[in-house]
């Protein structure tokens, strides 16, 4: 016979404002099976939990209902309390009378009535609760990091430092990401290469880190602690283990007119090339699309000249498999293309800023290359069209960002700061040069950030103009800006030699494919979604998969590194355990009635349904049935709802319990 205790929480005033909690407890005491009911101001607090513990003992409770906030908030807390009181934790249920009740009602009678109804349904359910045991799964003590920018590098180094093996997968031929393209970094003006490249070398040399560059994740299966990953190692056409990095091939390659991606198209590279001098690994690869050998069957210079015979035109993509326990996604960002060449059609580009047709209208990353000592101009600010030193540069903030018309409503977070830095560097480098920043708001909330912006204005005399520019166009060899100074309320015109657009930060192309493979959600812009915006910022809703850096949303280097270390600490917490406990609220198939229609297989969002063969002793196939992989199942219940033969039930939410809840709700008050 069930002996149920009901505990009604006031949640300070959150619930008590619109629910008469004493009345709810009083009514609950009259419900069938309830032997004890009480209300208290903060049930989740220490004295609150003491009340529950004491009641379990004194009233020999078999199950508990806590009427409080959402189970998302405190189910763990109260199940822990029940467990300490000697109950099976799954004999404790939480009735949500806050989000589902007090917060959406305005009067006490209304709120109280509904709270009583909610409590009644949970009492009916808890009466049919069965003790459940947590599921234990083993852990493969290896981590995969996807993306080798600063986020991926930081996460990989942190995990490896704790002694666990890391597989770092990078799509490009070198690690380093966009940070390797930056000149100097705000707010301290550290040289980006100087602080990044030692980290890149550390990755390459770390005995615990296995580096796959020019590689992409092809398939992911399994579940937390037990992922199986297929990685495509794309053919470089240069044998990594043979190449001695002499550089002869890149010097002699005759195909020299290919836009250099690393320098954002500001200069050219050869077909066989190393992305940049400090690349890790420092091994060339052949760009097949632009190589004369591959396109016309002629040339072969690199192969002929290579002293160690490392060039291999016959090389093919290889698929490698890795067993992985935890995954960090750090796929980074790309910049908004003002020409509007977005494969998904999300972003429409800027006709009013020339749609990319003016050579001297460049983006923030291109300016980084111009200002970088390793860039195409050796760090001299020269404009792309004619190589002249620009005497006036206009920097435009919020290009693509905060612009619903162009497809984006979010703020890109980094532009205010890097524009201040750009303008500052420009004024340092070009004597007599004048920088103008057209902005809407200056967002400089980070540590020492606002001081940095003020320094740009007060010491370097960067001119800030509040107002968006309506149009940018060419007049002779000048770029004309039609703008406004909203502080004056007047339209203004500026003739500049060059324009730098702080284009929006957008997720890396193709990230949605990876997200689908991993079973993690993303928002409408394809930024990956964290499990909770405040309390679980580096986790995803899929156990064992974590996020770091700009794949989750635009952020600067300090935030990215902090988040990467956060993700690494989550990985370490996971890998340091010998086995994992998983919620036992998973689906179960009744094999005797399953007809193998595979409707469950079709609907399962987590690929947790497997096709299982049932054979007799001789090995003859008797029938096929659905089987739930308890490691993968997240207990969403879709299969149970879909099953035509009623063969699937969800532990902790079985049909009997749900029907009892409905009946309790349908009772006439």
């Amino acid at each position: 016979m069930a002996r149920i205790g009901v505990f009604v929480c006031h949640c300070g005033e959150n619930i008590a404002r619109t629910v008469n909690c004493a009345k709810v407890a009083e009514e609950a005491a009259k419900m069938p099976g309830v032997v004890y009911a009480l209300d208290y101001k903060y049930m989740c607090s220490d004295p609150g939990q003491e009340i529950i513990l004491k009641a379990i003992k004194e009233h020999r409770l078999t199950s508990v209902v806590v009427a409080a906030c959402s189970p998302h908030m405190h189910e763990k807390t109260f199940r822990g309390t029940a467990s300490r009181g000697g109950l099976n934790p799954y004999m404790c249920e939480q009735a949500n009378i806050r989000e589902h009740c007090s917060w959406v009602h305005e009067s006490i009678p209304e709120g109280t009535d509904k709270a009583i109804d909610i409590v009644r349904t949970l009492v009916a359910k808890v009466m049919r609760d069965q003790p459940l045991d947590v599921i234990k799964v083993p852990v493969t003590k290896r981590c995969m990091v996807i993306g080798g920018g600063i986020a991926g590098i930081q996460a990989a180094l942190d995990v490896a430092a704790a002694g666990y093996e890391v597989v770092l997968v990078e799509r490009q031929a070198s690690i380093g990401g966009h940070m390797s393209q930056l000149s100097e970094t705000f707010p301290t003006l550290d040289c980006s290469q100087c602080i990044l490249t030692p980290r890149m070398v550390e990755v390459a040399q770390h005995p615990k880190i296995k580096l796959y560059t020019f590689s992409e994740v092809e398939a992911v299966s399994g579940y937390v602690g037990n992922f199986k990953v297929k990685i495509r190692r794309k053919a470089r056409y240069v044998k990594e283990e043979v190449c001695i990095r002499c550089g002869l091939c890149t010097q002699k390659c005759p195909a020299k007119k290919i836009p250099n991606e690393f320098n954002c198209g500001l200069d050219n590279r050869t077909a066989i090339h190393v992305p940049f001098p400090q690349a890790v690994p420092n091994i060339p690869r052949i760009d097949r699309e632009n190589c004369t050998w591959f396109q016309k069957g002629k040339c072969g210079v690199c192969k002929k000249i290579c002293p160690v015979n490392a060039v291999d035109y016959e090389m093919e993509d290889k698929i490698v498999e890795e067993d992985i326990g935890a995954i960090v996604v750090a796929t980074g960002y790309e910049l908004y293309d003002i020409a509007g060449n977005d494969p998904n059609g999300l972003y429409s580009g800027y006709g009013e800023y020339g749609k990319g047709k003016y050579a001297d209208v460049i983006d923030g990353l291109q300016f980084e290359r111009l200002a970088s000592a390793s860039g195409p101009t050796g760090g001299e600010i020269r404009r792309p069209s004619d190589g002249k030193e620009p005497k006036t540069i206009a920097f435009l903030a919020c290009i693509g960002s905060r612009d619903n018309q162009k497809g984006i409503s979010f703020c890109s977070n980094i532009c205010c700061m890097y524009l201040a830095k750009h303008a500052m560097l420009y004024e340092h480098k070009v004597h007599g040069g004048k920088g103008y920043i057209f902005y809407m708001d200056i967002r400089s909330g980070g540590k020492s950030y606002d001081e940095f912006v003020r320094r740009a204005v007060e010491e370097d005399h960067v001119c800030y103009v509040r107002g968006r520019v309506s149009k940018v166009y060419k007049r002779g060899d000048k770029i004309v800006l039609r703008g406004t100074d909203t502080l004056l309320g007047r339209p203004i015109e500026l003739e500049a030699d060059m324009v730098v657009l702080a284009t929006a930060v957008t997720p890396s192309p193709g990230v949605e494919k990876l997200a689908q493979m991993l079973g993690i959600p993303y928002d409408k812009y394809k930024f990956l979604s964290e499990a909770h915006p405040k309390l679980r910022p580096v986790e995803t809703v899929t156990a064992g998969i974590y996020l770091a850096g700009c794949c989750q949303g635009p952020k600067d280097i300090p935030l990215t590194v902090a988040q990467a270390s956060g993700a690494a600490s989550k990985v370490l917490a996971l890998l340091s355990r010998s086995e994992l406990e998983r919620e036992p609220t998973v689906a179960k198939v009744d094999e005797t009635t399953c007809v193998a229609c595979w409707c469950c297989y079709e609907v399962c969002p987590y690929n947790a349904i497997e096709k299982k063969e049932i054979r007799d002793r001789k090995g003859n196939l008797i029938k096929m049935v659905a089987n739930v992989n308890r490691g993968l199942c997240q207990g969403c219940g879709l299969c149970a709802a879909t099953c035509r033969s009623g063969s699937i039930d969800l532990a902790g939410f079985n049909d009997e319990q749900l029907m009892a809840e409905i009946e309790a709700l349908a009772q006439v008050r």
Binding site: E352, D403, K406, G467, R468, T484, T486, G489, R490, P491
Partner: protein
């Protein structure tokens, strides 16, 4: 300069009326003037902003703070030439040109004398002309406008030139004028 009150009594109704009209004008555009975050791009591209005491973004601001009355009496709303550059480039999809026209219509409904006397006279002369003939008779339009506005010799050099080029008709063409007069009457008297 006058000190402005924020959201004076009754201003909510004015803002609501403007928002409601924005919705019928273009359901795809921003639903309310609150959507404007005052970036100034409208003013930046406006061909007439230099002629306005309140340029477009400030007209929107006046509406945002409930000072519709000030906006209705402004020169700005009449200097707007309805080129729609502002609405086209607005990052927040605010139909600024729609707000401008709504304010002009409101000013007319409330009998507020347009602050831009010349533009008003020109428009009224135009409509009178159309009401009379069904079609516009350009020479008469300029003539009447010049007389009323006392700019007697405005473009006086153009007449002979245009005449010599055969660009000016000597007589008006009348078209369906009885029905047009009824149309004007019904439209202007409709509530």
């Amino acid at each position: 300069m006058e000190i402005l009150a924020l959201n004076p009594p009754g201003s909510e109704k004015d803002i609501e009326a403007i928002n409601a009209r924005l919705e019928t004008l273009d359901p795809d555009a921003a639903k309310s003037v609150e959507t404007c975050y005052q970036c100034g791009k409208c003013t930046a591209g406006c061909p007439a902003a230099d002629q306005m005491e309140f340029p477009p973004n400030q007209i929107i601001r006046l509406v945002q703070i409930g000072q519709v009355n000030v906006a209705l009496k402004s020169v700005g709303i009449w200097r707007c030439v309805s080129c729609e550059t502002c609405s086209t480039r607005c990052p927040q999809k605010v139909n600024i040109a729609g707000v401008m026209n709504t304010l002009r219509l409101m000013a007319r409904e409330r009998g507020i004398q347009p602050a831009d006397r010349e533009a008003d006279m020109f428009h009224q002369a135009f409509l009178q002309n159309v009401r009379m003939f069904g079609r516009l008779f350009e020479p008469m339009l300029v003539g009447i406008y010049n007389m009323r506005s006392m700019h007697l010799f405005h473009d006086a050099d153009k007449g002979p030139l245009l005449l010599s080029k055969g660009k000016l008709p000597l007589f008006p063409t009348s078209s369906d004028s009885a029905r047009v007069r009824r149309l004007f009457k019904k439209a202007l008297e409709s509530k």
